[in-house]
Symmetry: none
Subunit: 418 residues, 2 copies
């Protein structure tokens, strides 16, 4: 089975937005053994969309389109598809009712313009959108199955995963690529590469590659196989070998995030372990991460963002003398922040962060990127200072992740590896 992917949108064709949908869709399709003929990006021109649909539908088994099904004038995919099919558009009453109810439930009236999003080419099938108002469309063009999905990545991914991928997977049969990812935080890509050694040989199957994103280094393990059970066995063996090489720096696998893993550890015992936060340079980012997942209120109860010295003293009981002697970015200060937060919140743990996120505020002693971390627990308080790489955004993001990592190692009962 072979697929082609079409992205529609002026902002993509003109290069104002980089198309990430096509790469994502390709990865998903390849993972279930579907060949990729290629991608194409075109602007919001009905003539061009029609030509492309006709052209690619004649050459592939599956054509995935993303974009052009919003409610505005420049959304032309559904009209183009109807034209190529040689049918008109008809109103899908189920979707219209769903959209109307969606707006009503939020106390709003659906704008007239949204009605067009319930228009589906006659003979085509509406695909449910559980993340937005743009219904998808599935239509048959000769021997090609066409799937029209939203351009908004979140909506496209939800719809694709639920209603497109299973259809393709079922028909792709044969060779499959099994894949998984192992995630690390705290080591650079080259250090990970050195530890992996021969596991990264390009000719190896399963193959092991590394990808860096948002400060995490992830190991991509791909097993190409014709027998599912055999492939899974090989994949598992390679995962074991990777874990042996990297150790506890691997915090999770697959869909795991640092946040989900830490929350899992906090909830692993009968009585939830609770945590509070006291942040300076991260400005609430750590608390945000700890509350990103549903159910986080069992573990996270309160946090402070104490950006000024005055608020560190007033809210957390940091001593004026400590700030005067050691400065706001110091291990004594984060120690008092963590201990103060833990006492006031009455939690099992408290994490504190104070640092210089930049671009200004650095000194020869404490350059931009210098960040101090505290972890208060029943037995005392642990502190660390690290030099974080990157710009303001990176320093803040990595700092929040470092605090979570300190907590993770503590919850595992392992010494901090740095």
């Amino acid at each position: 089975m072979q697929a082609f992917i079409l992205s529609v949108g002026d902002e993509l064709a003109l290069g104002q937005t980089i198309d990430t949908n096509s790469a994502w869709i390709s990865q998903q399709l390849a993972a279930v053994g579907c060949d990729i003929l290629g991608h194409q990006t075109i602007g919001d021109s009905q003539a061009m969309i029609e030509t492309s649909i006709k052209h690619w539908a004649a050459q592939t088994d599956v054509l995935i389109i993303s974009g052009g099904i919003g409610p505005t004038e420049d959304d032309l995919t559904r009209q183009s598809l109807a034209a190529v099919l040689g049918t008109g558009l008809e109103r899908n009453e189920a979707w219209l009712a769903h959209m109307t109810a969606h707006f009503t439930s939020r106390g709003r009236t659906m704008p007239e313009r949204n009605v067009v999003q319930a228009m589906i080419p006659r003979g085509a099938t509406m695909i449910w959108n559980t993340a937005g108002t743009a219904a998808g469309i599935r239509a048959t063009l000769g021997k090609c199955e066409v799937f029209s999905t939203p351009g908004v990545p979140r909506e496209m991914k939800t719809m694709f995963t639920r209603d497109v991928l299973p259809w393709v997977a079922e028909r792709s049969g044969g060779a499959v690529i099994l894949q998984t990812k192992l995630h690390t935080f705290g080591l650079g890509e080259s250090a990970i590469g050195e530890k992996l050694g021969a596991l990264m040989d390009r000719s190896r199957n399963p193959s092991v590659g590394t990808t860096v994103a948002n400060g995490l280094v992830s190991l991509r393990v791909n097993a190409r196989c014709s027998n599912l059970a055999e492939g899974q066995k090989q994949l598992d063996e390679t995962v074991v070998a990777c874990r042996a090489a990297i150790g506890d720096m691997i915090f999770g696998q697959g869909e795991d995030t640092l946040e989900s893993v830490v929350l899992g550890l906090l909830g692993a015992k009968e009585k939830p372990i609770t945590v509070a936060t006291a942040e300076s340079c991260t400005g609430g980012w750590l608390a945000k991460m700890l509350t990103d997942l549903p159910g986080s209120s069992r573990y996270f109860q309160q946090g402070w963002v104490t950006y000024t010295n005055e608020s560190k003293m007033a809210q957390l009981g940091v001593k004026e003398e400590t700030l005067a002697t050691h400065g706001a970015v110091s291990q004594p200060t984060v120690a008092e922040m963590a201990v103060g937060a833990r006492q006031r919140a009455g939690t099992d743990y408290a994490l504190s962060i104070s640092g210089i996120a930049g671009p200004d505020g650095g000194t020869p002693d404490k350059p931009v990127g210098t960040v101090c971390f505290g972890l208060a627990h029943a037995g005392g308080v642990v502190t660390r200072t690290f030099g974080m790489f990157g710009d303001r955004d990176m320093v803040r993001d990595r700092s929040a992740k470092m605090a979570l990592t300190m907590l993770r190692f503590h919850l595992l009962g392992k010494p901090l590896p740095f």
Copy 2:
């Protein structure tokens, strides 16, 4: 003059690498007034490359290819181009000598494999590569000029800027595309579309389109012109017309973000205006946004993340009676949170948020997505309740943006439009 862009590489077709070259090339071409027909990404297959070159060369004036001219087995663009031209490859002695000297000067012998990079289709022109060993190729196919450039972004950009863009610019007849973006928050894409009306006509120049990203609806305004001054005037007029249609819901233009605009307003007067935050469901996200930009410590001093009822009472002075009577997600509660935070922080303003981010916790009265907002100021406190669309992540992100929007309107001295 119209161009099409072809990217070649298995890693791109399979989605392992996101193609950024096409977007970059498009922007460059558009800026000199060249129309973009679209982009296509294909794998390292000679048959496919030949087909695509033939197909697009017949339909455009310029075809830009990136990728497939490296020294390895899977680099097949030059062979494909020669096949389509119907000529063989011949060795370009100048490039061979350059490559050989390049290696010699570094004390190395040129690997035999690199010789293929001096092979150019007979009748085509070699394009100098000042950043690597892959020579570019320029060839004429009927009425189309084909430029083959490296896939490595840095090499491609150097070659494109030096030898391709000037050629296109000269022939685009001075026509240029000027562009800008206007950003809104708080209205849906369809509501924006309705307000814009005829401004969004597909045949209009300057054209106006809309793009949605992270809850913001942005208006893309593109002016196609042959005279720069005239084009800028038309662009400005359309921007004025868009602003008239949408009003204060437009918070910024170009590189502006909601955060940067609000910070700008806080710093607009001689004495910085200060703000504190009191968050429940957003868990620190609002504070994070307010501290995303350097210099934010002038305006933002402290914030509270009060996830539990107990912390709302202990840290912010919310009354037990208020929580018991109205619940944590209520306008009386966010009013007390905002007033409490403002008093304790001693700031000019305080923003508060309490809501049901989901997926659990909704009730018939207060479904998931119900979020209450408070804004305390010297003259009192304003509160609002909104139904936010989307999943947990979206509800939290949109809520933080809504709080910033409330503050923005207040700082502008305008009534909240919702």
